[in-house]
């Protein structure tokens, strides 16, 4: 959370075209506190509170972007992005193409997604893959504080509309973050951990769960290689393909529901690549159950992959049980 806040603060200090717009982001500091204190430093003209209208936020962001500003929009709960789909998908994503490159749409829409907070079905979804399917949009999904700041600054500098999916549970993650401004180029997968037995591709919060699972499996002598695509679109395929060629097995883990999720895209990328001939087991997906996220905390816990599920799934794949 502080990494994101620091990134936004530094971008606003450096470039006066950058501003933040969203619901309750000013005095209240945002639903999760990401923008806390920014209004004191930059004032209500650059930290803009809006009415409860996601379509309005998206429209304002797109309009500002094509007139030369570099806006950052915040969707309080990523679920609410559905209200702004027309603006984002019909307009923002296509403008540059339809105007023959004469209009850039350089905005970043930050969306807080994911389950685990007991916020029930309308406040817990993972909708990133909806936007992966829209040409013109870039989709970014950080998994660590370091990546969050570096990717956010890269996104702000990018001249394209960018959907920046944050996970609510990750706001409290601790990790080393340089104080200076730095960027992590969009479209670069990150090999988080090296291993020879299995390629585990995970996004967002599943990266840290995968790391915990890998620690446990290491004690059994199973070496998991973890890759975080970080940018779902454009996707950096090569590290994934190279890794599967090395390990011969692939497990994809994400929180979004399995059917129609990004895992299907990743699996297809692997199948269509040179790595196909090196596969020694089916590509497996471990993802959210095909259901709305339940309010009941126990049910909510079991609706999405947890560390123990990853351990079990990875072990079965490595041991040739699939």
């Amino acid at each position: 959370m502080e990494a994101l806040r620091e990134g936004m603060r530094q971008a606003m200090q450096q470039d006066e075209r950058v501003f933040v717009i969203g619901e309750d982001i000013g005095v209240y500091g945002g639903a999760f506190g990401v923008t806390a204190g920014l209004i004191d430093e930059f004032g209500p003209k650059r930290i803009i509170d809006t009415p409860i209208s996601e379509a309005g936020i998206a429209g304002a962001v797109i309009g500002a972007a094509i007139t030369g500003m570099r806006p950052i929009g915040e969707i309080q709960f990523s679920d609410f992005v559905v209200i702004s789909m027309e603006q984002l998908v019909m307009q923002g994503a296509k403008m540059r193409f339809m105007f023959g490159g004469k209009a850039d749409v350089p905005f970043v829409m930050r969306l807080a997604g994911g389950s685990g907070t007991g916020a029930a079905a309308q406040h817990s979804e993972s909708l990133e893959n909806w936007f992966v399917h829209v040409p013109g949009l870039k989709v970014v999904m950080p998994s660590s504080p370091y990546d969050a700041k570096g990717l956010l600054l890269a996104a702000i500098q990018d001249n394209n509309p960018i959907m920046f999916f944050e996970h609510k549970l990750l706001y409290k993650t601790k990790g080393p973050v340089p104080e200076e401004m730095y960027t992590i180029p969009l479209g670069q997968s990150h090999v988080v951990r090296e291993g020879k037995d299995l390629t585990l591709i995970a996004t967002s919060i599943m990266v840290s769960r995968a790391q915990q699972a890998a620690e446990q499996l290491a004690e059994e002598g199973i070496e998991i290689e973890i890759i975080d695509p970080r940018t779902l679109k454009p996707l950096d395929e090569k590290p994934i393909v190279d890794s599967v060629i090395k390990t011969g097995k692939a497990l994809i883990v994400h929180e979004a529901v399995k059917t129609g999720g990004f895992g299907g895209e990743l699996a297809a990328v692997i199948m269509e690549s040179e790595a196909f001939a090196y596969l020694d087991a089916p590509v497996r997906r471990l993802a959210g159950l095909d259901m709305p996220i339940p309010y009941n905390r126990n049910l909510e816990y079991h609706a999405v992959p947890q560390v123990e599920n990853i351990v079990e799934e990875a072990r079965k794949l490595v041991k040739g049980q699939y």
Partner: protein, 459 residues
């Protein structure tokens, strides 16, 4: 539990292997995958690997013993483990039975495809069904008590064959490796779910099935041993010896041979070779006489594709690929490594491959690929002092060239005066089903001209 090491089954119809060498002894520490023994299969020596890490113990066979496949040959023990009680009687009976085989073999054995490796039982009904339907029981998994193959197992196998069209369940990686190593996936038992073959299964299979393994046993015509004669030694008909016996018998029985001979003055070729070797770069291989002959033969095959062919019951197939095998003598037999696409390789490359293959042949380091897909064979007994000889065609090829030693001979020059020439005698054995005398003669004449004008070809 003590881990059993079994004699692996490397080929489709392979029944037994000879133990050539124990690389580890009782009490030695072994790591999983370590080679522990060298065994001979059809012509190729293969290594048996430790199935897991531990201490090798309980070696049951000595060097020279012939062991049926899947028979336990030793154990890997973990600390505190012992060899199972039931193993206290070594399988000497097996050894005896097999090594005396040539002596007692008067009745023909059942076709090997229907035999089951020792130690697994088959219900009589299952056996009969398998015989009727020509099912290789080695491919059937037993579900009965102690793995006994029941009638249902054979029926299930047949139903599955029908359903899948004989397709094999294997992962993409397993298929890739099998393709690279020319291994028939049908010969491999999969360790994955529902018997799917995985990469590790193929890697452990390690060898291609030699084409010769398809041949029926040669024992049909063997004679009883004369009890009136004192026996010096018995050589079991296994491995390479058996393969040679089968192939040569088949060739002489099936292919009507015709023999043509020609003497070729090799002075020009020899000059070329000496020149090449004097001017060769350091580290580049010496050009050998064999390499020259391979080159000239490849060219002649290109000019006469009918010689580079194969006879089948329906047709004669002429091959575009020209893969020239060079028969190489070993202490215990004969092996034919192949120079693939010899027509497209230069002298230097051929020389390099000839010497590399010969070296690896003598060190038992040839891989199945090195022996595969020959389309013609050269047999050179010149180095053994033989002036000329005729060879038996190496099936399924259509011809073989026998090369004698280089002799110094006075021949008349154009004025009738004697001049000293280096002459080599070449004999072609050709399959008369495939070609006639005139075609074989044209090949030999072309070969002769190629050798005389080798400078033109290698230029």
């Amino acid at each position: 539990m003590a881990k059993e090491i079994i004699m692996p089954k490397f080929g489709f119809t392979q029944e037994e292997s000879e133990i050539l060498e124990w690389l580890k002894q009782n009490g030695d520490k072994v790591e999983k995958g370590d080679p522990i023994a060298v065994v001979s299969t059809d012509k190729v020596s293969m290594e048996v690997e430790a199935p897991e890490s531990g201490i090798l113990d309980g070696i049951r066979y000595k060097v020279g013993d012939t062991v049926p496949v899947t028979q336990i040959i030793a154990y890997v023990l973990q600390p505190g483990e012992k060899i199972p009680e039931s193993d206290s009687t070594p399988a000497a009976a097996h050894t005896a039975e097999i090594t005396t085989e040539p002596k007692t073999e008067t009745a023909q054995k059942p076709a090997p495809s229907l035999e089951r490796a020792a130690g697994v039982s088959i219900s009589p009904v299952a056996q009969r069904l398998a015989d009727d339907k020509q099912v290789d029981l080695n491919l059937v998994r037993g579900s009965g008590k102690d793995g006994q193959i029941t009638r249902k197992d054979v029926e299930d196998y047949l139903a599955n064959q029908e359903k899948t069209g004989g397709k094999v369940k294997a992962t993409p990686a397993a298929r890739r490796i099998a393709g690279e190593k020319q291994i028939d996936l049908r010969t491999i038992t999969g360790s994955g779910p529902t018997g799917r073959i995985q990469a590790a299964d193929v890697v452990s299979a390690r060898t291609a099935e030699a084409p010769a393994a398809q041949v029926k046993p040669a024992a049909a015509g063997s004679q009883a041993v004369n009890p009136a004669l004192k026996v010096l030694k018995e050589i079991p008909l296994v491995g390479m010896r058996r393969t040679i016996a089968q192939n040569m018998q088949r060739s002489m029985q099936e292919a009507p041979h015709m023999f043509l001979q020609v003497d070729v003055e090799m002075d020009a070729a020899e000059g070329l070779r000496k020149l090449a070797n004097e001017n060769k770069m350091e580290n580049s291989p010496k050009v050998s006489v064999t390499a020259l002959i391979v080159k000239a033969v490849a060219q002649a095959l290109k000019q006469n594709p009918i010689v580079n062919s194969q006879f089948t019951s329906e047709k004669i197939v002429l091959y575009e690929d020209i893969n020239v095998g060079v028969a190489t003598a070993l202490d215990n037999g004969l092996i034919v490594p192949v120079i693939h696409n010899a027509d497209r390789k230069d002298l230097k490359q051929i020389s390099l491959e000839v010497s590399d293959l010969a070296l690896r042949a003598r060190n038992n380091k040839l891989q199945p690929d090195d022996l595969a897909n020959g389309t013609f064979t050269i047999s050179n007994l010149g180095m053994f002092g033989i002036d000329r000889f005729t060879a038996i065609i190496n099936p399924p090829q259509a011809a073989i060239l026998a090369v004698g030693k280089m002799n110094q001979v006075f021949v008349p020059d154009e004025n009738g005066q004697p001049v000293l020439r280096s002459v080599v005698s070449f004999s072609l054995s050709a399959d008369h089903r495939v070609m006639d005398g005139s075609q074989a003669a044209k090949f030999l004449t072309d070969l002769k001209n190629n050798l005389i004008n080798l400078g033109e070809i290698v230029k």
